[in-house]
Symmetry: D3
Subunit: 179 residues, 6 copies
C-alpha cells in the first residue's frame, strides 16, 4: 500500500519526522510519498527554503532516523483547487491513501473517492513550521525542534541569516526594488 | 443591443437576479452576457464554488425567474489590468454596453471607449456575496438571500459543509499541507 | 562599467532621480540599467501606472535632468526567487554591479557572486513611492515629490483621478465585478 | 440529461450544426454544452476566429436553425492532458455524457468513468474545419459549407481577407516581426 | 558526490537502466538524481506516460536491478533556457556533476560552471525512447527493449492500446475536438 | 512623433540597422521604440540569443552608426493575438505609428485604429535573420551581414559555436535529455 502525505516542510521538523516514522512503521511493507508543496517558492518568509533544499533535508533526516521506503517529490502550486487532485495523480506514483488533518485537503480527495486518514498529532503546539521559522529568525531555540541532521543542514545553509534578510524592510528610494 | 455584466457570483443571489432581470426587461429585444469572473478559483473562502457550479446556478435561477436572453460565460482572471478589456472582447460575443458600479471596471472600459452604465442598487446591505458566504458558513439565514432554485442547488452541493471545511484551520504537523 | 538598479518606480520620484543622477555622475563613462519591476501590473493601488508609463516618466525626468547613459527596461515578475537573477541576466544587457538597499535583493545577487553596492539614501521619509501614491490619491502635495517633468506627465495621465477610482470600494450586487 | 461536445468550431460549419441538431432532437428534454476549445487562440491559420466570434456564430446558427437548449462555453487550452477532464468539470455545468469521435478524448473521459458516445458522421469529407478554412483563404465555395447565418457573420468579419493576411509571408528586415 | 541525469524516460528503457546502473557502480558512495523532464506532459505521441507513471517505472526497474541511491524527481518544462539551470538547482538537491550527451544541455550547465560528463553509449540504435514508442504503437518487439519490471508495468497500463488511441486521427465534425 | 518597430533581432543585422537608421533620419525630432520580441526565448535554433544580448547588440550597433533616439525594449510573447496590441501598449511608452511589412501585425494594429506604415525593403534576400543564423551555424560569410559592432559582439559570445551546439542531435539513452 502506498500512502501520500502533503506538506510544505518549511523546514522538515520533528513533528513531520514523527508522523512519517509512525506511518512507515505501521505499514512496513508499503511506501510513502512526501509531496513537497509550494515547490516554486523560496526566499520568502513563509517559504524560506527551496524545494531542493527541502528534499535534501528530508533525505538527511530519514537517513539519520533509519526510516526507509519514502519518496520526497517537489510539487509546485497550481492554484486551481478543482484540478489539484488530478494534478497530483499525474505527477506522483499511484497511491492508495492520503494522510492529512487539513479539512480542505480531505474534502478535495474525498470528492475523487480517494481514501483519507488523519494521522495522530504530535505535540501540535511546538511542532509547527511557523514556530520553527520564527525561532530561526530570532536564532534561538530552533535546534530542538528539528532532527539533528536538519539542524546541521540549516546551519550549512546559514538559515537564521537568510530568514533575517528576508524579514528586513528598508525604507527609501530602493525599498521597493524587491524581486 | 448586447449588454455585459461582470461578477463573480459567489453565489448568484437575489441582488444579482434583480439587476439581471431589470436589465432584461428594459431591453427585451437585446441580450445580456454574464461574465462569471475568477473562473479558475474554487474551494476558497472568497470563491467557494467552481465556475461550472456558478454557471449552473445562474441557469437555474434564470429559468425559475423566466428571464431569458442571458449567456453566462466563465472568465478566468488574467491579473493584467492593461489587457483585461482586450481579453474580454476576445472571449465574449460583441457587446455594446457594460453595466457596472465598480469605478475601476468603469475606468478600464471607458479608456477603450466602451459605453458604461450604472445599474441601480438593490438593498445593497443585504445582497452581497460576502454576506451570503458568511451566512452559509454559519448555516443560518442564507436561504432568503438567494433565489429558491439556487437555495436548492446549494443544498445539493452541501454548500454550508463545504464553507465550513474551507474555513477550518488545523494546527499541527500536517496543518500546512493545504493544496 | 554597467550598473543595475531595480525598482517599481510607481511613480519615478525625486529620490529615484537623485540616486540615478549620483550613480551616473560617479561613473560617467559607464551606463546604468533601470529595471522597471512588476511590469505586468497596472491600475492597482500598489502599481497604478503601466510599465510603459513608467518607462516614459523615467525618460522625461532623465531628459529634463540631463542625465544620460540610462536604459529603462520593463521587467515582469516571475514570482520564483530561485530563478530571479538568471531571469534578469537573460533579459538585460550584461551588468557588473547591482545597487540596492534591499537585503533580499542583495542576498539573491550575492548567491550568484554578483557585486552588490548600497546607494546612499536621500531623505528616506519623504521620497517613497507609497507616500507619493497616498498624496496622489488625496491630490495634494505630491508635485514637490516628483521631478517637474513627471509632475506634468502625471497631470496628463489624470493620475489623481485614476488613484481615486482604483481606491473606491462599492458595496452592492456589482461590487465584486472587479477585473 | 446534459451532454457535452468539445470542438474548436473554426468556424462552426454545417457538420457541427447537424450533429448538434440531431443530439438535441434525440434528447429534447435535456441540454447540450458546446465547449469552444482553444479559446485563447485567434488570428492564426488553425484558429482564425476569437472565442467570442465562435460563440457568436454558434448562437446565430442555432437561432436560425431553431435549435435550443445549448450552452456554448469558451474553454482555453491547458496543455495538461492528465488534468483536462478535471479542468472541464470545474469550468462547466455538470454533464452526464460526452459525444466524441476522437479516440484520445474518449480515453481521457473513460479514465474518469464518464460515459462517452460517438455521434454519427455527416459527410465527413466535406464538413471539416480545415476544408472550410482553406476555402475561406481562397474565398471560393465556403458559403455552402456553413449555415447561412454563419456565412453572413463571416462576411461581416471580413473572414476571407483575415485568412489571407494571416497566411501571407513576407521576407525582409521586418519579416520576423510577427506578434 | 551527487550526480544528475536528465531525461524524459518515455518510457524508462534498458539503455537508461544501463547508464544509471553503471554510474551508480562507478560512484557507490554517492547518489544520483534522475530528473524526469517534461513532467507536465502525458497522453501525447512524444510523451505518452504521466510523470507519476515514469517515476513508478523507474522505481520498479531500479528495485528489480538492485540499483540503489537514486532519486527520481518530476520536472516540468519551463521553456526558458536562460533560467533552466537555476530552475533545476532550485528544484533538486545539490548536485556536483551532470551526465549528458546532449550538447545544448552541456552548454547551459557549463555556462554556470557546473561540471559535465558524457556517459558512454549503450547500443544507441536500439535503445531510444522513440524506437520503444514506435514498437509499443505497433505492439511488437517492445518488451525486449525495457527492463522486465517496466514491461509488466506497461502491460498493466495498457500501453500499446494507449499509444494506438493517441495516434489515431479521425476526420469529421468532431475530429478537432481533441483536448 | 514616436514610432514602433517590432522584431526578434536574432541577430540585429544590417537590414535592421538600415531600416532603423532611415526611420530616424526621416523623423529626427521623434523617437523610435524597438520591441525585441520573443524575449523569453534563447539558445534555440530560431532564437539563439537572449533578449539581453539582443538589446546589447542593438545598443552597440546604434552607437557605432551614430543613430540616436532609439529605445530597445524586450517583449516576451503572450501567444494571445487578441490581446497583443493591448499588451504592447501597456508595456511600451505611447507610440503614434507602427512600421511593419507583416500583414498580420498590420491587421492587429489597424483593428485598434493605430496607424501602420510599411518601411522600404533593403535587399531582402540577403538581410534576413534566418540567413544570418544559417551562416553563423556554418561559420562562414556572416560577418558581412551584420554591423561591425555586432560582428565583434557575436565573436565575444562565441556565436558560431553556440549555434553549432544547439543544432547538434545525439542519438542514444541521453538524447532526449534536452532542457
Amino acid at each position: 500500500m502506498t500512502g501520500l502525505i502533503v506538506g510544505r516542510f518549511q523546514p522538515f521538523h520533528r513533528g513531520h519526522l514523527s508522523v512519517v516514522s509512525d506511518l512507515r512503521r505501521a505499514q512496513p511493507e508499503g511506501s510513502l510519498i512526501l509531496a513537497v508543496g509550494s515547490a516554486q517558492e523560496s526566499f520568502t518568509a513563509e517559504n524560506p527554503f527551496t524545494a531542493g533544499e527541502r528534499v535534501e533535508m528530508i533525505q538527511r533526516a530519514l537517513a539519520e532516523g533509519r526510516v526507509n521506503g519514502c519518496l520526497p517529490v517537489p510539487v509546485a502550486d497550481i492554484h486551481r483547487h478543482a484540478q489539484w487532485v488530478a494534478y497530483l495523480r499525474g505527477l506522483l506514483p499511484a497511491f492508495d491513501v492520503v494522510y492529512t488533518n487539513n479539512p480542505l485537503t480531505r474534502l478535495l480527495f474525498e470528492r475523487e473517492r480517494i481514501r483519507v486518514e488523519s494521522p495522530p498529532f504530535v505535540d501540535r503546539k511546538r511542532f509547527q513550521g511557523e514556530v520553527v521559522r520564527r525561532r530561526l529568525l530570532e536564532n534561538r531555540g530552533w535546534e530542538e525542534l528539528v532532527p539533528p541532521a536538519v539542524a546541521r543542514f540549516l546551519v550549512e545553509l546559514g538559515a537564521p541569516e537568510r530568514l533575517r534578510r528576508i524579514a528586513e524592510r528598508v525604507k527609501g528610494p530602493s525599498a521597493e526594488s524587491a524581486p
